[in-house]
């Protein structure tokens, strides 16, 4: 049970003046239940990459296996693949069209050919999971705020009960609270349902807190792939491709340079706090008196 990409290449507008090699020989395996972050600057190929995963874009060359089956094989049902691999696009405006929120969420499960009760049950459950209040269910999706629209869009995919949930910049354009709410909600889903989550973002801060693994894209290539701690060790290279490590990484690196024995692998504020307190705690003990640094 996994997604596996072998030598995926994708070229936009092949043989035209607008030709662009968007993905270059991508080899990747995402096992079940992983929380993966895909990071890259604008135009690095991250959105193109995720659209391959549910067959919306067909690779120019290369093979993709979902649960061991070649998705490009003849007779493979893309519709079925899309019901297993849910993709939420960056702009909820691209998918909301119904007169009220609940009907809009129902669109996905309805397309799966489920019974009416099942559709409604799943939709209500999904709306509940994304934390949208019940009073909005019969409102027009166009009257909602940006954050609420995004929740509806995510619920629209969740109601299809995907095994893999891909989110393309789910926090773009949201205020800090809306961003944290949505990411917390997604992390909760990951934990409760055990689904694979792939989070696309260009904010390291967002990603560092939640994911098990980070994939860094640069000009259509996979630049780094590994645990967040390992990837952020390359913070200087990340900067050179227009990204950055979380801010605490910089603080910790600076402290280390100044001679404090802190853990430079701390990637969240909480971890950094622990590490710094530990260092000072030891110092206090050594000198036997309180020192104000």
């Amino acid at each position: 049970m996994s997604i596996k990409l072998e030598h995926i290449n994708y070229i936009y507008g092949e043989e035209t003046a607008y030709e662009k090699h968007a993905l270059k020989d991508i080899n990747l395996e995402i096992p079940d239940g992983q929380f993966v972050g895909i990071i890259g600057h604008t135009g690095s190929g991250k959105s193109t990459l995720i659209q391959h995963l549910n067959g919306l874009i067909k690779a120019t060359s290369g093979v993709i296996y979902y649960n061991g089956e070649n998705i490009y094989a003849e007779g493979y049902s893309m519709k079925e693949l899309r019901s297993h691999v849910g993709l939420v696009f960056q702009y909820p405006e691209y998918q909301l069209f119904e007169a009220d929120v609940l009907s809009d969420v129902c669109f996905g499960p309805k397309n799966l050919g489920l019974s009416e009760e099942e559709v409604k049950m799943r939709s209500l459950e999904a709306l509940h999971q994304v934390g949208l209040k019940e009073k909005y269910y019969d409102k027009s999706p166009f009257d909602l705020s940006g954050g609420q629209k995004r929740r509806v869009a995510i619920a629209g995919i969740l109601a299809m009960h995907p095994e893999v949930l891909i989110l393309d910049e789910p926090t773009a354009g949201l205020d800090p609270k809306g961003r944290d709410d949505i990411l917390d909600q997604i992390a909760k889903l990951h934990k409760e349902r055990g689904i694979t989550v792939i989070l696309v973002s260009h904010s390291m801060e967002d990603v560092a807190k939640y994911v098990d693994r980070i994939i860094v894209m640069d000009h259509g290539c996979m630049k780094f792939d590994g645990e967040p701690k390992k990837v952020f060790e390359h913070y200087k290279e990340l900067e050179s491709i227009g990204l950055s490590a979380p801010q605490v990484t910089y603080v910790m690196q600076d402290l280390k340079e100044k001679g404090f024995d802190v853990d430079v692998h701390a990637i969240t504020v909480e971890e950094a706090k622990q590490s710094i307190l530990q260092v000072f705690g030891m110092k206090v003990k050594k000198n036997g008196s309180e020192e104000n640094v």
Binding site: A17, L56, R82, Y94, Q95
Partner: protein
């Protein structure tokens, strides 16, 4: 998928044709189209072919691109040819059962096919080598005298350039919306006409909403930058005829005379 539509889309490269004043290209294209209708003879069409091939060569646009535009009209072309071929009365050439091909029919069919093909390729040479903005600039300046009889030339040109500018944006948006809905299991391909039309709703509603929002935003952005119509508006790059344009205009009568002469002298 939808991105593949390339009829007359600007092909960015640097060539003598690309650098010509849009007015020159407009006049030439119109003259070329007229000449195709005016001089209906094989000899003239040879001249027209020579010109077209030469211009395509100079424009540095791959020939493949020109032909791509033809794909969209292949059906129309076939229908025209078939109708002309079988339905024009005259001297019978071949007869199969009740279908009769006449000499006149064959003649008309060939001319129709050639004329349509040249028409489309000829005008796509213009659109492939001229950005939409240049084109509307050219029209605005070329039609400026109409201002005197109160034709709102500037406004029409502005509307046209905005409309043209939005075609690729809306196409791209359609593509994105289609994908977003396909990710939710939408099906835009199968079913009969009525189901198909019904299945378009999840595509059309977001598309219209986004188009209106964009129009609104654009109007605001234009007003915010002080746009209030064409009066007293100057250009950042005013159109001025260069040496190449004068040469192009000088060739035009030569071409027309050649077409005329070819018809008169050769006679077919």
């Amino acid at each position: 998928m939808i991105r593949d539509i390339t009829i007359g889309q600007y092909y960015p490269t640097d060539s003598v044709i690309h650098r010509l004043d849009p007015r020159t290209k407009l006049v030439w294209t119109l003259a070329y189209i007229f000449s195709l209708f005016l001089f209906r003879s094989f000899a003239s069409y040879v001249v027209a072919t020579v010109l077209l091939v030469t211009v395509i060569k100079i424009s540095k646009v791959p020939f493949k691109f020109m032909v791509k535009g033809m794909k969209a009209v292949v059906i129309l072309l076939l229908i025209t040819v078939v109708f002309n071929l079988f339905l024009i009365p005259g001297t019978t050439l071949v007869q199969i059962w009740k279908l009769r091909i006449t000499y006149e029919g064959l003649n008309t069919a060939v001319f129709m096919a050639l004329r349509l093909t040249y028409l489309i390729i000829g005008s796509s040479v213009m659109t492939l080598t001229t950005t939409p903005n240049q084109l509307t600039d050219g029209m605005e300046k070329g039609l400026a005298p109409l201002n005197k009889i109160h034709v709102p030339v500037h406004d029409v040109a502005m509307m046209m350039s905005i409309a043209l500018r939005f075609i690729p944006i809306l196409l791209e948006e359609t593509d994105k919306i289609m994908k977003a809905q396909m990710a939710r299991g939408a099906d835009f391909e199968s079913g009969n006409l009525i189901t198909k039309a019904k299945n378009m709703i999840p595509l059309l509603v977001p598309l219209f909403i986004s188009a209106f929002r964009r129009a609104n935003d654009l109007a605001m952005a234009m007003e915010a930058r002080g746009y209030y119509g064409g009066e007293g508006r100057t250009k950042m790059r005013p159109l001025v005829y260069q040496k190449n344009d004068r040469i192009a205009y000088a060739i035009l009568p030569v071409y027309l005379i050649a077409m005329f002469a070819a018809k008169k002298i050769v006679g077919i």
